[in-house]
Symmetry: C2
Subunit: 718 residues, 2 copies
């Protein structure tokens, strides 16, 4: 259902309207009147007749015309009844300011469920509860009570009223930009982040979406929506709550924790979202991306009037992974004509005093640089805008000239210019002119470089869009009937863990490279099976009651002689019975010892927020001690699988170290993609662990496999 | 020699004084007059008689009274002659503005050497060249030409005029703080960073020292001076130039590069310097440290009026390693009395609307929190200072009251308070009051948390000062005569690399745990030596011409039988001769195969800036692929050695993984300290590599050792 009637409501009822100026039910009406809301305002309060010159209605049903939206200012416990009334009036949506719901504990959660049920029954959509409200700056529908929020093309979507206030203040003080909408999502009880995102994607007046998130109710749907949105307009997001999560999940170990936070970040980035780490950078990046073209080739030039700033900027851009290519010979030649001999004309360009007498030279340099095909964007750092203040007033005119020229250049060359100026907070006219042309100006080098880096990151994303996945999971797609049968059988036995031989059988049905094992049910059978295998064998107990096979003395390795194998069979079974007297022993796996190679592990699990995720890393110490692993939300594309194998620090080991030959990375990538398919094929799978997998010079071998099913009542869901 | 006569000069001659307002020789005089410099000003120019009302002297010698300092505004090539004249006049120091020296190449470097020679001959100290000048804000000696720099207790020492300008502007716009001195060190041709540091250490009007550094000429002397200084007053430093270094050292591989940059950072931190990574944080941290008490227990409380800011601040403080302990039961109880039921009283404290009607409650909460012995400092985040703007004007009075109270609390409890406010840049009166009380106020959460973290970092340093080294190297101290004799012998043979047996012999003289090797010079001797060793042996070629023993087929491992050992000897010698026909073969080492344990490597080398440094890491893949190593500038304390073994990511392997017992970390620490002593004992050593060292359950064994000497003419320097 579209949110149009809520976001662009043409009439608003204020439930809990008040004549008391300290009450939200008064303040909102006053602000709506002052800011000249284009729709109709209906105060509702049985005890009042008029408020601020408007007729006050005793209840919703007395209002003669249709009501699109209700702003409910009354306490939590009153809300179910009010929503019933909204339903009768066919109100499209309600904004619930009150706290006292899910955020307060069990009783609150139950009340929250109740209001969602009532709303669903009546087809009412809810914003909040526990929200600071919403703003539509096009119709002046101000349901927040904050005056003079600047208007513009950025949609603001946050989970904290104070962060919204921070960002609105920042826009007002430090930019010429503003907002199309603001929504405080509150507890996300009904309308979720991804639904607002879809509305903003479609809104022609929104050019960028700015988000502050502490936690998300439906991570995967958000990723899917972000994937659709970011190709059309940029989404900039700061996610906080790492450390409080830390507290909440005390007891769970750090590796897992850091891992899951990395999952979120990498998934959002794969969906094209610009993930911001520092709150200082959040608005400036949105400012840049809402008004400047993205950088197409990840290549930036720096233009400076002093060494210090240029050095710091070059360091920071390098840290952000942005290239600073040398300028072409032709560009260097042209710059040499413009600048004094001491100038540096490579990159960073340092004017070396060449602009002291005439700062309009900055524009000439900028033009030459932007014409260079190696350059995708320009960062100007230093004193520009302050020459008139610092040296002589008449220089201001030349700076203004330069500002006009640079503003036009951005449009002409479709390459962004970002400006750092010592004088940014003084707001001299040349810098205000730049802002008029949508060129952001910052007094922080850190922020200015981050803006440039984000323009490059977005350009890189758009460039690689074709190689991305859309995060849509076709549950059951590509399932194999025999695989499904194995899961059915396990369920039928009331188990949730597949035995090693069952897990391997399931994998084999998908042509996974599983070691050629067989299950022996007697010592003689074991000896016969071993004979058929070339070389020594490994033997492992199979029993639903014994998950930790080694602990039970249920594993023997490197056996060759028939007598040893028989003995081992009997010993393993004896050990198992001693370990778990009631164990149902299904037999002993006889498997060839794996060929030489690099040990890796692949695991999948279901994340609370994002659903199925996959983990990959080199085995042993690398994963256990160094936590050197790579995570992705499933499904993954070939590109993602490739990057997973490359981004762990131990990745070069696969290429062969100390004279070893390279190992078969292609086969490993194929296996990662197959794991993605298998998890998609069987929605019953909760966890899958392939540990170890051996990567050989040619091919890979899954040596051990474990599959756990989700707890469920249903015997067989497929 | 003290810099007093330069830094506090009572008379300044302006060489190259001018009547042209665009010239530095004019501007400086005008600013000195306008800002009422307390000393005497002597313009010098043979072509002028009066400048700005002052008598202009044809040359220095015509000046009747003594001249402390000369500001030389003329080009590079004129400077040697001018310095001669300064010498005759017994001028104490000269500030050289001109560029065109070492920074421009070989010819410039030679000119720079010339001026240093002239200056030394005449006992003149030089500031610069290639500097923007210096400021003494106590006497208004303004040799920069920048007007109205704010006065205060921070000394500013930079290598970039623009960065100085940035920091001075920032102080002016965003704080109530200012500067005692500014010096642009320029090329550091004569006076070095550490000499200015010593001056500022002694200056009673300087409470903190703020530095921007691109590169240092004498890193070790700076560390020694920093060690002496930071116990008295904080030093805050930003080092840039990572990426340009990257360019310069193209070809050297990334691991080494990152390593050396890490060396600098860790060494500066060990000397108590607060190393800043983001230029935005540089001035604010100096502001905080120049006026607030350090945090004694690394424990901070957050006081907030909204969830978003508190969450972000908690995340950031966690990232910085600052603890946020729970408040005591008593504190929580008192807060509960002050605040509404919905408030959070643990930490972060969230007032949950409790301050809306009376923001002076912030002070009451702050008092209760600061009285808690668990808390070392307070971070207030949110809207404070803006209640009067955002809600109702009369609230401003209550905010002012709170500001007064909090200002006094900092003094009373000797615990710092740092404030983040959305309204910081609006400068409302309550926030200006906080600044009056030396409480910093920032509109950036990132910056405010960094200030708190730095106050904690400095407190931690002061607390652990007793366990630090002073970076003083007593060359030759603890040398062993027999070790010195080995080095003499190597030098006498014209070699710069010790043979394995020589290196091990030297180490043995210092009781290092070297494997019990011996050198065999025949196959029979090898067999006899092996017999004396329990268990299998390793055999390795010894020849000055063969450094890569394995490549030459000069290594055989795990030999036990006499016949095999004889055969191995002959084969090794044969291989060696085939590999290097002219090799001088000194014999074959026969060594016991090392007992089981964890392989580590220890290396030392001489860094250009800091002198001897040591590297430690786990061997094999950990160091080669993962670059998982730890660096320190030598000498190291026991604490540093311990931290080195702990801070590599692979460190837990030493504690025993997968059921292995822990390894002997104590013996490893002892060996690291011994390496520090050995490098100190023999100034001839350029590099020492112990690779591998095996760490056993008890003890360690040095299996292979390599020592390289510095190139030198002298046969034997000891």
């Amino acid at each position: 259902m579209s949110l149009d009637r809520i976001m662009d409501a043409r009439s608003v009822a204020i439930i809990g309207a008040s004549r008391n100026p300290t009450k939200r039910g008064y303040q909102t009406i006053r602000v709506l009147l002052e800011e000249q809301y284009e729709g109709e305002i209906f105060p509702v309060n049985p005890k009042e007749e008029r408020i601020l010159g408007l007729t006050c209605y005793p209840s919703l049903k007395e209002i003669e015309t249709a009501v699109d939206l209700a702003l409910i200012c009354t306490p939590a416990k009153t809300i179910p009844t009010i929503l019933e009334a909204c339903g009768e009036k066919q109100v499209a949506g309600a904004v619930l300011l009150a706290g006292g719901f899910g955020e307060t504990g069990q009783a609150g959660r139950e009340l929250e469920n109740t209001i969602v049920d009532v709303a669903r029954t009546h087809g009412i959509r809810l914003v909040g509860p526990n929200t600071s409200g919403m703003l539509n700056l096009k119709s002046n529908m101000n349901l927040v009570g904050l005056r003079d929020a600047p208007k513009g093309n950025i949609a603001l979507l946050t989970q904290s009223g104070n962060m919204a206030l921070t960002l609105i203040m920042e826009a007002k003080i430090k930019s010429h930009k503003g907002f199309s909408y603001y929504v405080g999502v509150g507890n996300e009880a009904d309308i979720k982040f991804h639904e607002y995102l879809e509305f903003f994607r479609q809104d022609p007046d929104t050019a960028a979406i700015l988000m502050y998130v502490e936690g998300m109710r439906e991570g995967r749907k958000f990723l899917q929506q972000a994937y659709k949105t970011t190709i059309e307009k940029p989404v900039i997001l700061l996610k906080s709550g790492r450390s409080s999560t830390g507290k909440r999940s005390a007891g769970s170990h750090t590796g897992a924790l850091a891992g899951m936070s990395r999952v979120a970040k990498s998934a959002l980035q794969r969906a094209g979202v610009l993930v911001i780490e520092n709150s200082d950078e959040l608005f400036p990046v949105a400012e840049s991306l809402s008004s400047l073209p993205a950088i197409r080739n990840n290549a930036v030039a720096i233009l400076a009037d002093g060494g210090g700033h240029a050095t710091i900027a070059a360091d920071l851009l390098t840290d952000h992974g942005v290239r600073m290519p040398e300028l072409s010979a032709k560009t260097q030649e042209k710059l040499r004509e413009l600048l004094p001999p001491a100038a540096s004309v490579v990159n960073p360009v340092d004017v070396a005093g060449g602009t002291d007498a005439d700062p309009s030279l900055f524009a000439d340099c900028a033009r030459v640089i932007l014409q260079d095909p190696n350059v995708g964007g320009l960062l100007l750092v230093g004193l520009f805008g302050g020459y008139g203040i610092r040296f002589a007033e008449q220089l201001t005119l030349m700076e203004e000239d330069a500002a006009h020229q640079m503003g036009k250049m951005v449009r002409k060359y479709k390459k962004p210019v970002v400006v750092h100026s010592l004088y940014a907070s003084e707001k001299p006219h040349p810098l205000e002119l730049l802002r008029y042309y949508n060129i952001p100006v910052h007094d922080s080098l850190d922020v200015a470089t981050k803006c440039v880096a984000s323009l490059a990151e977005y350009g890189n994303y758009l460039h690689s869009y074709h190689a991305k996945t859309n995060f849509v999971f076709n549950w059951g797609h590509k399932a194999h009937p025999k695989g499904a049968a194995i899961i059915c059988q396990v369920r039928a036995e009331g188990r949730s863990a597949l035995l090693e031989n069952e897990a391997k059988a399931l994998l084999r049905h998908h042509q996974a490279p599983v070691s050629a094992d067989a299950l022996a049910q007697s010592a003689d059978e074991a000896a016969d099976l071993a004979e058929a295998i070339q070389g020594p064998v490994a033997m492992k107990i199979v029993s639903p009651q014994i998950l930790h096979k080694s602990d039970a003395g249920g594993v023997k390795l490197g056996l060759s002689r028939k007598a040893d194998i028989r003995k081992a069979y009997n010993q393993i079974v004896k050990n198992a019975k001693a370990y778990a007297p009631d164990a149902d022993i299904r037999g002993v796996i006889v498997a060839p010892m794996a060929d030489a190679g690099v040990e890796v592990i692949i695991g999948t699990k279901i994340d609370d927020q994002f659903g199925p995720v996959i983990m990959y890393g080199l085995g042993g110490v690398m994963v256990e001690i160094l936590k050197d692993v790579s995570f992705r939300v499933l499904p993954i594309s070939r590109l993602s699988a490739k990057r997973m194998t490359e981004e762990t620090k131990s990745s070069p080991i696969l290429d062969g170290v100390r004279g070893n030959p390279p190992h078969d990375r292609k086969a490993l990538i194929k296996l990662l993609l197959l794991c993605s398919d298998i998890v998609e094929a069987y929605p019953e799978i909760a966890e899958m662990d392939l540990n170890p997998v051996i990567v050989h010079e040619e091919g890979v071998t899954i040596v051990d496999a474990r599959i756990l099913l989700k707890p469920t009542e249903s015997a067989c869901p497929i």
